[in-house]
């Protein structure tokens, strides 16, 4: 395997992705990720000199809304699925600051 994923990298990715992995899951993730990256490295064989990265398939641009209010108060629908609700707001664990 050309790509060796170390513990620090897996922990870092866990912080980015907000996932907590057990030790066993970490070992598996290290192997899976390394193998996938080896496979993705195949793209390195492609000569992409001068090729524009294709972010959008079609040359469609300037898709806009006019600045007109179309939505009313739909708070109950927005809060209906909330795991925690108080005074019309979403409850979350205390944030810092």
């Amino acid at each position: 395997m050309a790509n060796i994923i170390d513990d620090a990298t897996i922990d870092y990715v866990g912080i980015l992705a907000k996932l907590a992995l057990s030790d066993e899951e970490k070992e598996q993730a290290k192997k899976d990720m390394g193998r996938m990256l080896d496979y993705i490295d195949k793209l390195g064989e492609l000569d992409t000199e001068g090729v524009e990265p294709m972010t959008h398939l079609f040359p469609v641009q300037n898709v806009f809304r006019e600045d007109v209010v179309t939505n009313g108060d739909d708070r109950d629908s927005m809060l209906k699925n909330a795991p925690g609700e108080k005074n019309g707001m979403f409850v979350v664990p205390k944030t810092i600051g």
């Binding site: 980015l16 959008h56 600045d67 209010v69 179309t70 108060d73 707001m89």
Partner: protein, 478 residues
Amino acid sequence: MAREYETVIGLEVHVELATKTKIFCGCTTAFGGAPNTHTCPVCTGMPGSLPVLNKQVVEYAMAVGLATNCNITRHCKFDRKNYFYPDNPQNYQISQLYLPICRDGYVEIETEEGSKRVGIHEIHMEEDAGKLIHDEDTNCSLVDYNRSGVPLIEIVSEPDMRSAEEVIAYLEKLRLIIQYLGASDCKLQEGSMRADVNLSVREVGAKEYGTRTEMKNLNSFRAIARAIAGERSRQIALLEAGEAVIQETRRWDDAKETSYAMRSKEDAQDYRYFPDPDLTPVYISDAWIEEVKGRQPELRTEKMKRYKEEFDIPDYDIEIITGSKHMADIFEACVAICNQPKKVSNWLMVETLRLLKEKEMDPEDIRFSPENLAKLIGLTEQKVINSTVAKEVFEVMFDSDVDPEKYVEEKGLRTVNDEGALRKTIEEVIAANPQSVEDYKNGKDKAIGFLVGQTMKAMKGKADPASVNALLKELLNS
């Protein structure tokens, strides 16, 4: 010998745009709604919802870019900035990293050493976050997404400022430009204009910049000035002690006049920006730029020049009145109604400024309407009320924008021009104050002042003092 240090400052200024709706959905941007009543699936990050760009946001951003001498990026795109925080419902903010809408501009500021250019690195469009409120009862936080998705532009300056004075001059300049464009009301206290300060220090003469920190939570010019002084000292103290400044984000606590690091091991500061596949690119043509330019309202320098030509008022008044777009709007609207530029200017320069200072308000907070000020001026012109009463009425109007005509009627403040009634009151005053009459006749001119005062009191202030004086003299001398 003590080393001398130079402060190097760059600013990231966030401005909430004055659109009616949010940047990616049709929810209102109005202030003051009950929590989460201005939300929809898009701005609360519901699964399956998709953003659609508000055209007005692009036009405001272009207008600000043009007014600050920027190049407009013809093909610009939106990117996702990924980070988890509850005020950010998708856990990514839609912003612009790779192709911001404006680049390479500048504004001129006035400093003690003369005029100076502050470079603008870029201006980009993005969405605002919701609001977090701490709940004491449960020791939890509560999230309100009413502000989530309100359009912002972020104006990133070059590190061209060297003092708090320059920073404030720059901010005031930006504020005026943006207010004149009508792109935002730019209120620091209310958060519609927010500045993050990037600051580093270096020895005078050094070529390289020092390590910078970013300071957030600065919501007044005073806080900005104090935070700059505080951070400068902190960094110098570190360097003097042989320690290094760490590149980090710090939060300013204005009450304690100190800042602290916002770092946490759970914040990687790796935003994984990538082009947002849900939005299409924006292409800005020459024609569109010309169109936006054509719609650009009169800016301050043009307005000052016009005032000089059109109105016979002092330069100083012009300076003050045009120093706030809102005040200038009131001035012009009021003059349009009553055609009395000098009188209008006077009310703004004297009573309005006095009350603003007394109540610690900004000109942007003026609530009375030009129509009502014009009516008040009309009332004094026609001598319906005297100047003392007019000032009283103005104070009420300043607080609650009452209609002065109605107010004068309701409160019975009209000057009494009925000579019969006035003559009767004066006769009563003369009869009740024989000593003063005596004094007057003995050549004590001061006594007349007392008698005028007594008459005004008896008339509950509603008499014209000049008429009282004339009639008193006539009666005393007869």
